[in-house]
Symmetry: C2
């Protein structure tokens, strides 16, 4: 190799990594993230081959905003309102009654399972393709009540940088969310760079059948097949990935088992817990919040070796400066 080319080849990685995480404030946390990545990618005692560099991320509250209610709940509520005229019984039937009464607190309390119930009930008789089209149309238009931006513009800039940095270092990045897998897949590739086959989430049952047009289709059933939350997260990881992650990021007690499963493996491990303590730029909530409750995991984080990320202290910027999603 010619000397000048050699020099370029040697310098390129250094240049690229000069600051892979510009929205993370310099300090012990940022140093430990980069130190972990350096350790597992550099030949030596802590080296991890690329194929085992599995990184898993919760979605709601970890990659994008989950307050005042989960985005998927807003989507499902819009659908309930649209279908309500032909379902008069919903006005007294939970969780539909809460939607129709705009009782967000009751809905938030009901959690991911209520969302799945709403989605299952209001999206029966649709094929997978039809559902994906509904999601895509909705997510392109709906706006967050406080920030007046589309939800896909309310993703966390520091997390976008972390995802890109890890992939540049040979990691494979996965979403492991309590939310519906089919609600996320239509847009995760464009927004996070995470393709559908690396999205794990809660599922309703699907049935393969031949439609009236003679074409095969996958029909969504009014039945929950899998809840990818709490102890379901390591199960979802086992089903989809088949190996234990070495890096996990979450923000609530729903991520406890995923973080525990990740850090209890052999060799170097990193688990991060995002603490929403930034009421001005985003929200502040933990132990008393129905959405994204962070209680037990906050108590145990230090003993388990999980690193807390303070949104207020550790993130120089919360959201991307300009809307990232083209209309």
């Amino acid at each position: 190799m010619r000397p000048r080319l050699l020099l370029v080849c040697l310098l390129l990685p250094t240049l690229a990594l000069a600051d892979p995480l510009p929205s993370w404030r310099a300090g012990a946390l940022k140093t430990s993230i980069i130190g972990f990545v350096d350790a597992v990618t550099t030949p030596g005692a802590d080296f991890v081959p690329a194929e085992a560099r599995i990184a898993v991320f919760d979605n709601d509250g970890t990659l994008w905003v989950e307050q005042p209610v989960y985005t998927q709940l807003v989507f499902a509520a819009d659908r309930v309102r649209a279908l309500a005229p032909s379902h008069p019984q919903w006005s007294t039937q939970p969780p539909f009654d809460a939607v129709l009464a705009d009782d967000l607190d009751a809905l938030a309390e009901a959690g991911h399972h209520a969302i799945l119930e709403l989605v299952a009930a209001t999206h029966t008789g649709l094929s997978s393709a039809e559902f994906a089209a509904l999601v895509s149309a909705w997510i392109a238009e709906a706006h967050h009540p406080r920030f007046d931006r589309r939800y896909t513009d309310l993703v966390y800039q520091p997390m976008l940088e972390l995802l890109a940095y890890l992939r540049a270092e040979g990691f494979k990045t996965f979403i492991v969310s309590g939310g519906g897998i089919d609600f996320m897949r239509p847009w995760t590739e464009a927004v996070y760079g995470i393709p559908p086959e690396q999205v794990i989430g809660s599922q309703i049952e699907l049935v393969y059948e031949i439609g009236d047009d003679g074409q095969p289709r996958l029909m969504r059933q009014p039945e929950i097949g899998f809840v990818d939350d709490k102890a379901g997260k390591p199960v979802g990881i086992a089903r989809h990935i088949g190996r234990r992650p070495i890096l996990a990021v979450g923000n609530s007690d729903g991520d406890y088992q995923m973080l525990d499963w990740t850090t209890s493996g052999d060799g170097p491990r990193l688990s991060l817990l995002i603490h929403h303590d930034d009421p001005e730029r985003e929200y502040a909530y933990d132990r008393d919040s129905a959405i994204g409750r962070l209680d037990q995991a906050l108590d145990d984080a230090e003993g388990k070796g999980w690193r807390l990320v303070s949104m207020r202290e550790d993130w120089l910027r919360v959201f991307p400066a300009a809307p990232s999603t083209p209309r």
Copy 2:
């Protein structure tokens, strides 16, 4: 870029693709496979972006030998025999009685579901990690009764070339098998270059729990969670991949729906059906075989546009020349 370097860069792809499928006999089939790959990777009307180049492969009878019985059945039978002394009731209880009487015909007739039942019953009370260790130890030692080679050396050389060729052309290759997902994952990466997260198969239920040693683990339950066969294959594809493949390869009626789902999508599609018609080098079976029955798919192949692969005519070599798996 310097002229000589530019020349090397331009020539490299051509050189590498001179004959990407050396074990496939020159002819219409080979031409159509390469023509399909060229079409979807070349800018133009049939171009498919890399992220949508999803290729799915059945395993038993498509990537490796499935006669005289599925390899996983041999594994499960070995386990039944080992545990039989402490389960006297098995001597009269199907499908255990067939195993203990060495009645391979009855077992073959019972199919994938019986395998899952045997595996579920004989591998209860094990963690995922313990099960993977059992599989790894078994597959490293067990030999095929006719060929006296390890099962992982009885993979099809032409299919190894097709997998490598597709990956070199930007495809992502997945296994979609009726066999057990956890029986395949310990060895598919070394043997096929397909990582665990791209292996889809039948599943037994898993439960996440904290063991007596205080460490989390995933325990295998005596309950079948998902059967990835026939109409289950497109469902498995939807759950794991979330988009429709553009290329599918199978060899039996169990692959019918996977092939149909693949070819009924828009744009260029390729489905191949491997016909076992080579009794000298491998086996000859189709309509009357309990293992890998090929009947309806054989009738409908021409009308559906699925290409038949004649093992005898189209493959210059069936197995790798030398054992591919290091001891």
